[in-house]
Amino acid sequence: MVDTVQVDKLQQLAATIRRHDLTMVHRARLGHIGGELSAIDILTTLYFAVLNVDPSRPDWPDRDRFILSKGHAAAALYTTLAVAGFMPIEELATFMQPLSRLNGHPNRTKVPGVETNTGPLGHGFPVAVGCAIGAKLSNATWRTFVLTGDGELQEGSNWEAAMAAAHYRLDNLTLIVDRNRLQQGDLTERTMGLDPLGDKFRAFGWYVREVDGHDHGALLDLFQSLPFNPGQPSCIIANTHKGQGVSFMRDQVAWHHKVPNDEEYALALSELERGED
């Protein structure tokens, strides 16, 4: 069973990461706050309790791979990497500034801990399939994790990747879908429906489980039981809320890439501070 001390620690880390993220977006006047806040509990659980990575050796060949396919949530990844020790926290202040390593989408040639450059949706998942096939070819035990948006799954490339992962029996691959039910302009189901999403992945040969993507304990439980079924890739549909943690951003499509003004920033920050305990 899940260790409550560890879950408390993850909650505190997630709160810290949320505050850094909000501050970065507010300072840069750019970013994708909604999808960052929806993904941060997943990122925190992965980086602080699941992934076998070493910030002092980001290129260590036997590290677990994590790929942020929804690259527009870069600020959430940068903050998580910084808190995990991959780069100095102070560097987060350079987000989007001229010549910074930290632009709006992650770049592996500049930022330690980033595995592949994402930004155009529907790219990370196929790359993750390649990582997992590569590990199998080398008889290596490291694992690959990839996080996609839900709107992102409208890209056909994901379904080509899903087919390949089952075909190659990639039980060393885990897909996490940030199922916040919103995309850029509207609800996913009003734009291009995805439901029944779990059944789609099952039909493609995946073992699927659903979870509350903001419940660190439940996430940890699932991650600790990977692979769900030997010989099959694992899919976690994480039900989340865009803007989680800030009442006026939660489930509001406008906050996909809206930037908080000073007043909204102060309010959001105070909510995130209170949310910690």
């Binding site: 010549l99 910074s100 709006g104 450059n117 155009p120 709107g151 409208q154 995309q183």
Partner: protein, 315 residues
């Protein structure tokens, strides 16, 4: 202060006017209603905006099918994803199949600034102008955007139209008449010709003013149509001014500069300079900061022209 215009506004208004007159007109989009500024169109013409979700390949294929069914589809999507992701659909389903599809690449060049090279569309002219049977147009300001869109609607055949987002001043007066395949002479001159299009035309005009103070007479051509290119205007510039500088918000490989060089080098060789993004992935920075960083500025154009003048005139 000069007023700066986001050409998407003129684009959206003109597209609504076209839709009012022509019941065939419709939009195909990729979760890009807000970023293409076509929310009003969606409200005014219910059912005539087909949003396929985040799926560019399907978007262009669907547009080709709509054209087959007698509709007049305008694909409205960020230029980077439209051209990058759906290039084979553009080639096979639209251009090769001669489908009457209008591909409207929004927010091109480095308009997305800090979002980085994945979102910059600085290869789109090289890619699209390499494809047969595809007219490629890069308007410079709102008037030209509206007129080029009118042309695309009236013309049968595949068109790629680059619709800018980064604020630009008006460079054409209200009497301007866009003519496809024809350069517009914006300033006469005899020592050097500056050929530009899109967001950087105003910078070419500013450079000509700087050069006049240097005692150099610079001709300025607005080359909105990149394919088919205006050979006559290019050859006249080569013959009459002996030097050519091209300027574009695009990589220096294969865009406007390449198109001009193909004509100049094979028909009337004169020294040239090609100004644009120098074949690298841009560092972090805003659109305007990046244009400065790469010297895609009036000062950068002036320096290139001075360099050519100092080389002396071709025999």
């Amino acid at each position: 202060m000069t007023t700066l215009y986001d050409c998407r506004d003129a684009f959206a208004r003109t597209l609504e006017a076209i839709a009012l007159e022509d019941p065939r007109a419709c939009i195909v989009a990729n979760d890009s209603i807000g970023s293409s500024k076509v929310g009003d169109f969606a409200k005014r013409f219910p059912g005539r905006l087909i949003n396929v979700g985040i799926a560019e390949q399907n978007m262009v294929g669907v547009a080709a099918g709509l054209a087959n069914a007698g509709k007049l589809p305008f694909v409205c999507a960020a230029s980077c994803f439209l051209t990058g992701r759906a290039l084979e659909q553009i080639k096979a389903d639209v251009a090769y199949s001669d489908a009457n599809v209008k591909l409207c690449g929004m927010s091109p060049g480095m308009a997305y600034g800090e979002l980085g090279p994945t979102h910059h569309s600085i290869e789109d002219l090289a890619w699209t102008r390499a494809i047969a049977n595809l007219t490629v147009i890069v308007p410079a300001d709102p008037i030209e955007t509206a007129q080029a869109l009118r042309f695309a609607a009236a013309h049968y055949g595949p068109v790629f139209l680059r619709v800018s987002r980064m604020g630009v001043p008006a460079v054409h007066d209200s009497g301007y008449q866009f003519a496809v395949g024809q350069a517009a002479l914006l300033r006469t001159g005899s020592d050097v010709t500056i050929i530009a299009n899109g967001t950087v035309v105003s910078r070419a005009l500013d450079a000509a003013v700087l050069l006049a103070a240097d005692g150099i007479s610079a001709r300025v051509l607005n080359m909105a149509t990149v394919r088919p290119i205006d050979r006559e205007a290019i050859l006249a510039a080569a013959r009459e001014t002996g030097r050519i500088v091209t300027v574009e918000e695009h990589t220096i490989y294969g865009g406007l500069g390449g198109a001009v060089a193909e004509v100049v080098s094979t028909a009337y060789p004169v020294p040239m300079r090609i100004i644009g993004v120098p074949g690298v992935f841009a560092p972090t920075g805003s659109a305007s900061w990046l244009l400065e960083y790469f010297g895609i500025t009036a000062a950068g154009i002036r320096a290139a022209a001075l360099e050519l003048v100092r080389m002396g005139r071709a025999a």
